[in-house]
């Protein structure tokens, strides 16, 4: 009985914070998304009107939303496989029996993950500078012409993807290294005795045993990459020609630049539903593959 009361008292501060500043606003967001909450409502609540699903309907009819969703999907579809590929390749190298100082390399590759996104995005903005950037200088050394990375609508998103891969590959690398270390050594010895070569060991032993980790990493990275915001905010301001305007950036502009908080809430909910649906699809396909 006493423990029962104590339990509530101990949990209360955290539950209050999470309830008041997370659950209430999440529920409130749905309510706000059904209104025309704008600058006038912000000044005086009497200007607020219930509009039902009008915000959603309007968004689904607007080119801005679809183009932002398209850009975000581009970022996810290209960025996630590249990131996970880089993470896995690096993890295999770091975890290799041949590697000296694995702890040193692990730390180095993780450094971009902890570095403040806004600050390193600024650094990359200069690295990608058309005239003075190190990257175009390097391309010049290879005999290639300079690319107007952040000023050309075709190149801005690839540039941001490149940056995101650099920034994030260390995170999943850590998870892959832990998973690789949990694979029993005798499996490799057995494969070796059976005459498997390096590639066969990787494809028949390592990859199948990594599948659950791969699934987890995939789901988390996809969900994370759908939240694209600070990279275009700092590097391109959504441009050129809206080519790097992401869904979250659109939400930010609608909500806190134009003060259309109703429409912004609807965008946030749509993004949430899309991520939820994509996650469900990923889980569905991974289960089917496992049972097949």
């Amino acid at each position: 009985m006493r423990a029962g009361l104590a339990g509530w008292v101990f949990a209360a501060p955290a539950l209050l914070v999470i309830g008041a500043f997370f659950f209430v606003p999440v529920l409130g967001a749905f309510a706000v998304s059904l209104t025309d909450f704008d600058l006038y409502a912000l000044a005086d609540l009497r200007n607020l009107r219930f509009v039902g699903l009008d915000n959603y309907r309007e968004l689904l009819r607007s080119g801005d939303f679809w183009s932002a969703l398209g850009n975000t999907c581009y970022f996810v579809a290209a960025g996630v496989p590249l990131s996970i590929g880089a993470s896995l390749a690096t993890a295999l190298l770091v975890n290799s029996r041949l590697t000296l100082l694995p702890a040193f390399f692990r730390t180095v590759f993780f450094a971009p993950v902890v570095a403040t996104l806004v600050a390193v995005a600024l650094v990359w903005r200069y690295l990608l500078h058309t005239r003075y950037g190190l990257i175009n200088w390097g391309l010049g050394g290879l005999g290639l012409r300079p690319i107007d990375w952040l000023g050309n609508p075709h190149w801005a998103m690839p540039a941001i993807i490149l940056f995101a891969v650099w920034k994030n590959f260390g995170y999943n690398m850590i998870i892959f290294v832990a998973a690789l270390q949990s694979i029993p050594e005798d499996l490799y010895e057995a494969a070796h005795l059976d005459g498997a070569n390096g590639w066969q060991e990787f494809s028949r032993v390592t990859l199948p045993l990594l599948r659950p980790t791969m699934m987890l990493v995939g789901v988390l990275t996809v969900a994370g990459y759908f939240q694209l915001f600070a990279e275009p905010y700092v590097m391109t301001e959504g441009g050129p020609l809206q080519s790097t305007m992401s869904v979250l950036y659109l939400m930010y502009e609608q909500g806190f630049k134009w003060w259309n908080l109703g429409s912004a809430s609807a965008i946030a909910f749509l993004l949430f539903l899309i991520v939820l649906a994509v996650t469900a699809l990923e889980l569905h396909f991974s289960r089917r593959r496992e049972s097949a």
């Binding site: 509530w8 949990a11 409130g28 000296l100 650094v123």
Partner: protein, 273 residues
């Protein structure tokens, strides 16, 4: 392939990756010591000809760098403190104290982990406005003072505390708070360091919410100030790189000092799914 060749190839690949990983960070450091305008040249200079701390001096004198640094330190520090108190109490309660509704609450919290924070942002802003907390430190700290992830992090660890240990203390007549402070907290110490590092770095690096809720430039954190200033000073490479160093250096140092704890947190977080 001979083992020696294989070893060389592996290290060549690792060396190339190290270069790619560190080059942007080293270049940032190098440019931050260049006099104004030196970085805008072709080919881009790798090292300053005449290293100078003028950018840092300017940053701290006229551009309020000291102010932003203090804001960032203060906000990340207070947030970490609050999150340590709230999450450790709740994490312990969910692991070791039986109370009505515990399992239902746990399930609700776990399910809510899938909701991204930006869904809450518009009403949260309105709440802060009505509470008069827009453009205040409390407006940044309060929403992060406890978190579902933090509660679960502590709970997973606290599950391993033997019940007999707590029972024995209760039989000796110790109150729950006393048991928590004297027995539980020392056992939880490693996971609390993990939580502290994760919270501090998360708060320091956070961008979207501070950008929304802090409206006065004197309240800005380093990332918000940096993003805003870089729009005004688009040509001042060297100054902006000094600002970037000021922003990144504290978290990198903290990570290097406590990376064991940080990485444990990531691995525990990735196992929760």
């Amino acid at each position: 392939m001979s083992p020696r060749l294989a070893r060389t190839l592996v290290h060549l690949a690792l060396g190339a990756l190290t270069l790619v990983t560190l080059l942007p960070l080293l270049w940032m450091l190098s440019v931050s010591f260049m006099p104004r305008g030196e970085a805008s040249a072709f080919p881009p200079p790798l090292l300053p000809h005449h290293a100078t701390v003028a950018n840092y001096r300017l940053l701290f004198s006229s551009d309020g760098g000291g102010r932003y640094l203090a804001n960032s330190l203060y906000l990340a520090g207070i947030t970490t403190l609050c999150s340590l108190v709230c999450n450790s109490l709740a994490g312990f309660a969910f692991a070791k104290l039986r109370f009505a509704g515990r399992e239902a609450l746990l399930r609700t919290l776990l399910a809510a982990l899938v909701i991204p924070s930006q869904v809450a942002m518009m009403p949260l802003f309105l709440m802060m406005k009505w509470l008069g907390l827009v453009n205040s430190y409390a407006g940044v700290v309060l929403p992060a003072a406890a978190g579902i992830f933090g509660v679960f992090l502590v709970r997973q660890y606290a599950l391993s505390i033997p019940d007999e240990l707590l029972e024995a203390a209760r039989i000796d007549g110790a109150g729950e708070l006393r048991i928590f402070v004297r027995i539980v907290l020392p056992v939880l110490r490693p996971i609390l360091v993990t939580l502290a590092v994760l919270t501090f770095l998360g708060s320091w690096n956070d961008f979207l919410w501070p950008l929304i809720v802090l409206t006065d430039q004197s309240m800005y954190t380093l990332p918000v100030a940096l993003a805003t200033l870089s729009r005004e000073h688009a040509q001042d490479n060297e100054l902006m790189m000094a600002g970037a160093v000021l922003t990144v250096l504290p978290v990198l140092v903290l990570f290097l000092a406590l990376q064991r704890y940080y990485i444990r947190g990531i691995l525990m977080g990735s196992l929760k799914g």
